[in-house]
């Protein structure tokens, strides 16, 4: 049973990944990526990481891909890339060779480490049942990893602020001279907000 599920989801993941890189239309790429992400979520369920499977579907397939599709619609879908044109000569073969060699390197590591990973275990938190997964993960996150959680909160705040700064249309240069700043302080007129 596990074998069948693994093989099917592996086929789903790999066909989706190939679809992402071979689609001319960016929207098709985004949909193929949803396929890959769902396959990965199934693998997470198979590995009894149930919370991560749910997060994978909600955050990746639900938020990130939607963001991609939203940006594609914003920029226009009519710019299908012509895959036959090769901008830099010899780039495609080189890229394929590089990808294959990275695969070779990882494969070598896998073969050298016969019998799978055998590292010494650190003092760890054992994985409980699949039913306990969310509880154990939450306890670990907010006890041993609490500093990292706070850091991710900071990261997300910076990302949101950065996205807002990047997406507002500047009405004047971002770096003002001192003189301009003084003029602004004197005039203090309500400036027109950018945005479409």
């Amino acid at each position: 049973m596990e074998t069948v599920v693994f093989l099917i989801s592996a086929a789903v993941i790999l066909s989706g990944a190939l679809g992402v890189i071979f689609s001319k239309n960016p929207v098709h790429s985004a949909l193929f990526m949803v396929q890959t992400l769902f396959g990965v979520a199934v693998l997470f369920v198979l590995l009894e990481a149930t919370f991560l499977a749910a997060i994978q579907v909600i955050v990746y397939a639900g938020a990130i891909v939607i963001l991609f599709v939203f940006v594609i619609t914003l920029l226009g879908v009519d710019r299908a890339e012509d895959l036959k044109v090769e901008p830099i000569s010899g780039q495609r073969p080189l890229a394929v060779v590089l990808g294959a060699s990275i695969f070779g390197i990882i494969l070598t590591v896998l073969i050298v480490a016969v019998g799978g990973p055998t590292g010494e275990q650190a003092a760890n938190i054992p994985i409980g049942d699949a039913t306990d997964n969310t509880k154990i993960l939450g306890e670990a996150l907010f006890s041993t990893q609490v500093f990292s959680v706070e850091l991710t909160a900071l990261l997300l705040t910076v990302a949101v602020v950065g996205a807002v700064v990047l997406s507002t249309r500047p009405t004047k240069p971002l770096i003002s001279t001192l003189e301009e700043l003084q003029n602004d302080a004197v005039e203090d007129e309500p400036e027109e907000k950018g945005g479409e």
Binding site: T3, F6, A10, I13, L14, A17, L18, V20, I21, P26, S29, M33, T36, F44, L47, A49, L52, Q56, Y60, A63, I64, L67, F68, V71, I72, L75, R79, E81, P87, I88, A95, V96, L98, G99, A100, I102, F103, I106, L107, L110, G116, P117, G119, Q121, A122, N124, I125, P126, I127, N133, L137, L141, Q145, S148, L155, L156, V158, A159, L166, S167
Partner: protein, 101 residues
């Protein structure tokens, strides 16, 4: 045939290689971002499978943080793409060579 951890690692290796190749081949910045997401997913599979193999929750915790970083990266990256595309209409990473100075 029993599925061992090695199978998961092999699948992750293939997925990572596909992502790398796509990142190098495609010139549309959006699809390049999607390829980065594919590579991150390959790493996530590795983390969870090795964590499951060693009975260690650390793998799943790492995946949690990878997810957060991926979300932040996509937000900033897409904002950059939109900001660039407002000035230049073509969607091609090669056109940004002007950034080299």
């Amino acid at each position: 045939m029993i599925i061992t951890t090695t199978w998961y690692l092999l699948l992750a290796a293939v997925l990572f290689s596909i992502g790398t190749t796509g990142l190098l081949v495609r010139r549309n910045p959006l699809i390049m971002f999607m390829c980065i997401e594919l590579m991150l997913n390959a790493v996530n599979i590795t983390f969870v499978s090795i964590g499951s193999h060693l009975n260690d929750l650390g793998g799943q915790l790492a995946v949690f943080f990878v997810l957060v970083v991926a979300a932040a990266e996509v937000v900033i990256g897409l904002a950059l793409v939109v900001a660039i595309m407002r000035r230049r209409s073509r969607t091609n990473a090669d056109d940004l060579k002007i950034l080299g100075g």
